[in-house]
């Protein structure tokens, strides 16, 4: 199955992260090089995660010139339901708001920053199994709802965004081989306590800087490609420091790891599709590696290739 279109919904209201960093005694240069975002988009209090889903799906369908009624499946990667509730699931709420037919299946994938790669594997496999021609993979997780603004280690990182990736056989980018892994023994390193997000920054940094390069190397071995064969490595934008730490493990191609989170921050499962969105029509790109990592702890890497 192929990636046809990616569109995003990014809230217009943003926190000035430079000012917030100064409140923690962090200067502009450290913010830019170590943390990353200068602005953090925040979802309007009047909107819910399902509204982000609806807006991004409608935008993607309009961009692709597809009617929303042509979608046969709606899969939403999210861990934050509407309001304080987790039942019903976000995809069902969005399904209703989009007035999709009862033959359109919808379900959530409860993953964080690894969710986009997992979601591509799940949805492309499902489409093959069920003969589905067109489907939407949506990422929508407004972490502003669970972040403690006084927590220095997380409040400077996360921004809200949603994306929709439309999969169908006519897309130019083929979903390829993937590796998915989980280490539940480290699950407490990222968690919520009473609906407030907590992260052990050191353990997550160590995990990502060691496990992600190892998995990417394994993926390249399994598809018989070298580091140099990959045009770009679109990895989860966890922080400026973690993107650089992972890139540093690939010194020959470290300049092929884009770090583009200044305007959005860490948008959880949306960060990889936000990187992909402007690259889909770049004819100079033929092979990309995607890699997401986070809650679980879980991590997944995938090769995508231009076919058209």
């Amino acid at each position: 199955m192929n990636i046809h279109t990616i569109e995003s919904f990014i809230p217009s209201y943003c926190i000035d992260n430079v000012a917030r960093a100064l409140q923690f005694g962090i200067q502009d240069q450290a913010l830019a090089t170590k943390i990353g975002p200068r602005k953090l988009p925040v979802l309007d209090a009047a909107l819910e995660p399902s509204d982000m889903v609806v807006q991004s799906v409608e935008k993607a369908c309009k961009s692709a010139a597809f009617d929303t009624s042509s979608l046969q499946a709606l899969v939403v990667v999210s861990q934050n339901g509407d309001g304080a509730e987790t039942i019903p699931h976000v995809s069902a709420i969005a399904h209703g708001k989009l007035s999709l037919g009862t033959d359109v299946l919808a379900f959530d994938v409860g993953l964080g920053c690894s969710g986009y790669v997992y979601g591509l594997v799940i949805l492309s496999g499902l489409m093959k199994q069920m003969g589905i021609e067109r489907a939407a993979l949506v990422t929508a997780d407004p972490y502003s709802r669970i972040i403690n603004p006084e927590d220095r280690s997380t409040s400077l990182l996360f921004g809200d965004a949603a994306t929709t990736t439309i999969l169908d056989p006519t897309g130019k980018w083929q979903v390829g081989h993937a590796i998915l892994q989980t280490d539940g023994s480290k699950r407490d390193h990222i968690k919520t306590v009473a609906r407030t997000f907590e992260m052990n920054g050191r353990q997550v940094f160590s995990f990502a800087a060691t496990q992600v390069p190892e998995q990417i190397r394994q993926l390249l071995t399994e598809v018989s490609l070298t580091e140099q064969d990959i045009d770009q490595y679109c990895i989860h934008q966890g922080s400026g420091a973690i993107v650089r730490a992972i890139a540093a493990k690939f010194p020959a191609v470290s300049d092929r790891f884009p770090c583009e989170m200044a305007e959005t921050g860490n948008t959880v499962s949306s960060s990889i599709p936000l990187l992909l969105q402007p690259r889909l029509n770049d004819e100079g790109l033929r092979k990309l590696v995607l890699s997401g990592f986070g809650i679980g702890l879980s991590w997944g890497s995938m090769l995508i290739e231009r076919v058209g």
Binding site: K34, G201, R202, F205, S206, A209, T210, S239, A245
Partner: protein, 77 residues
């Protein structure tokens, strides 16, 4: 497990915090007293763990906040 030296640790520090003035860093200088921020420190410990093939638990971080403390800690593992 490989023995780690002050020189090796200094090389790691130069790698993770290239803007740091290593001349101002004595073996007993606390990392709290220099411009080694928490992310640089995480990166340094990652290098030490990989080099020495050990795991440094979060509870032991205060035993690793200078060059000489890291050497002593690694020797005790």
């Amino acid at each position: 497990m490989a023995d780690i030296t002050a020189e090796t640790i200094r090389q790691f520090i130069a790698s993770v915090a290239p803007d740091l003035d290593l001349n101002a860093l004595g073996d007993d200088t606390s990392f709290d007293d220099i411009e080694l921020d928490s992310i640089d420190f995480f990166n340094l410990l990652l290098e030490v763990q990989t080099y020495c093939e050990i795991e440094i638990p979060d509870n032991d971080l205060d035993q690793c906040n200078s060059v000489e403390k890291i050497i002593a800690y690694c020797a005790s593992q």
